[in-house]
């Protein structure tokens, strides 16, 4: 069925669509950045809350988990009456999907901090909040970052679904390619998405290394 080689097709499609592709990449980054950004803030907060008030653990992590099980199409569908179509519902959906790894790793990271360090800190009269921000979060940082990085990478993949609801991004190319059986188009969308995931993970890794205090490095 391929009258042209895959490579020729890719070149042809890229010639035709390079401007759109640039836009799609930018749009994809925007979707990921905004949704993960919010997810970090909310997810870390919830993770903290859960590690502080143990009875919240079931409800919060359970809810975040249940959100993960809602297929994106269903979630997007439910959102149309509330938020319409386009960016907003996509970002909300992506945000909801990003929560679980961040919440769970924040929680696990915090409760794994060495007890004698916590004891020293509370023994010197630090409030729970101070212990949290100055001791637990910095020491739990690598574990939390593992959650954030997982979440971000998954999010780059999930963000292709924004195409379903008219929010653009690289998903436009991929799903178009799929529905038209044009592997070239799929690749034009999928390769930048994969590269974007690698790039974001790399940047977050650098950030992690830069922010992790020297004393915690191996």
């Amino acid at each position: 069925m391929n009258r042209r080689s895959l490579w020729e097709q890719i070149v042809q499609q890229l010639e035709m669509r390079h401007a759109e592709l640039g836009m799609a990449v930018l749009q994809h980054i925007k979707l990921v950045a905004v949704s993960v950004g919010i997810a970090i803030v909310i997810g870390v907060t919830l993770g903290i809350a859960v590690s502080r008030f143990r009875r919240l653990e079931g409800p919060v992590i359970g809810t975040a988990g249940m959100l993960q099980t809602i297929p994106s199409l269903a979630l997007l569908g439910f959102m149309i009456p509330l938020f319409g179509i386009g960016e907003l519902p996509s970002i909300i959906a992506l945000f909801l999907y990003s929560l679980l790894p961040i919440i769970r790793n924040t929680h696990t990271g915090i409760v794994s901090v060495d007890k004698s360090v916590i004891e020293a800190a509370s023994g010197m009269g630090m409030t729970d909040t101070q212990i949290l921000f100055r001791i637990q979060l910095p020491i739990a940082f690598p574990v939390i970052m593992a959650g954030v990085r997982t979440s971000t990478v998954i999010n780059v993949g999930t963000a292709t679904l924004a195409a379903f609801i008219g929010a653009g991004g690289l998903g436009d190319f991929i799903f178009l390619g799929i529905s038209r059986s044009m592997d070239a188009l799929v690749l034009i969308g999928a390769v930048p998405a994969a590269l974007l995931a690698l790039l974001l993970d790399f940047v977050l890794g650098r950030l992690e290394r830069a922010v992790t205090p020297k004393g915690l490095k191996i």
């Binding site: 997007l76 149309i80 179509i85 178009l176 529905s179």
Partner: protein, 282 residues
């Protein structure tokens, strides 16, 4: 199914897998094929309905994971083989010809033409006096269209429409097929692309506009079956051809709506229709 004895066991017991794409009509038709086989031949039928789109079904068929499903002439020509479509007869002939390359057979169409069309809400149509695509073109700069990705991109989709009718929509939103109806239902878009036989048109009280310049190619639906299956079960082709021409657009729309609007089970609707036609016993 358990109608094996009726044919006196002349056929050697075997297994066929019937597939379908992931929309109501295609699922209904898959069930019809399956029921026909079960009721008339001593073959075990497996249903792999609701596959994720044309592409999945098409690949599964060529792989041999399924032996048959219902496809459409325009889709075969334009989508799978990426050739120009013509009028109904040309397209059908071309489709039949093309699939032979892949050792498939496109059987006789069952009658309906599930072509693309454009739909708007009834009240919007009333308000703006919309009947035809040309009417729509005049006010299109004030309207937002929501459509499947492929429609947005295919030369025989929105790009061609814009050229032929001179439409210029205020915004074009590509989205998943399943989300078009809620989007228009909630007023987030004004116009969507639809299929002529969609049951959802009834549900959402949408008005189908007339393709007054006959822009869209024909999409006549018929079983697409693997050659090897036809050879192995010689009665098969004749069995399916019993339905040829029996399902017009209106009938198809009615059946689709039974599932989509009334929430009936696909298999039940299919069986009921076959009984109605007298092709199987009730």
């Amino acid at each position: 199914g358990g109608g094996g004895e009726r044919n006196g066991g002349s056929e050697k017991a075997g297994k066929l897998t019937v597939g379908s794409k992931n929309f109501t009509e295609n699922i209904l038709l898959a069930h019809m094929m399956a029921i026909l086989i079960e009721e008339n031949m001593d073959i075990r039928v497996e249903r792999k309905v609701n596959l994720g789109g044309s592409n999945v079904a098409w690949q599964a068929l060529r792989n041999g994971d399924i032996q048959m499903y219902v496809d459409y002439s325009g889709t075969i020509v334009a989508n799978y083989y990426q050739e120009e479509t013509g009028n109904a007869e040309e397209t059908l002939a071309r489709a039949k010809e093309l699939v032979e390359r892949d050792n498939l057979k496109f059987l006789e169409p069952w009658g309906f033409n599930n072509t693309y069309t454009l739909a708007v809400k009834q009240d919007l149509a009333d308000e703006l006096g919309l009947e035809t695509y040309s009417d729509l073109a005049k006010v299109s700069d004030r309207l937002v269209i929501g459509c499947e990705f492929e429609f947005l991109d295919r030369p025989d989709g929105l790009p061609g429409l814009k050229e032929v009718y001179g439409m210029t929509f205020a915004d074009e939103k590509g989205m998943d097929a399943g989300l078009r109806y809620p989007s228009i239902g909630e007023g987030k878009v004004d116009v969507i692309n639809a299929y002529a036989t969609d049951g959802m048109l009834v549900v959402h009280q949408l008005k189908i506009l007339q393709d007054d310049k006959s822009f869209f190619p024909p999409y006549h639906g018929a079983p697409l079956v693997r050659q090897d299956a036809l050879e192995r079960y010689p009665g098969l082709e004749a069995l399916f051809n019993r339905l040829a021409g029996k399902l017009d657009d209106v009938t198809m729309q009615r059946l689709n709506a039974k599932v989509d609007a009334e929430g009936l089970k696909e298999e039940d609707v299919a069986r009921e229709f076959l009984v109605e036609l007298g092709l199987i016993e009730g």
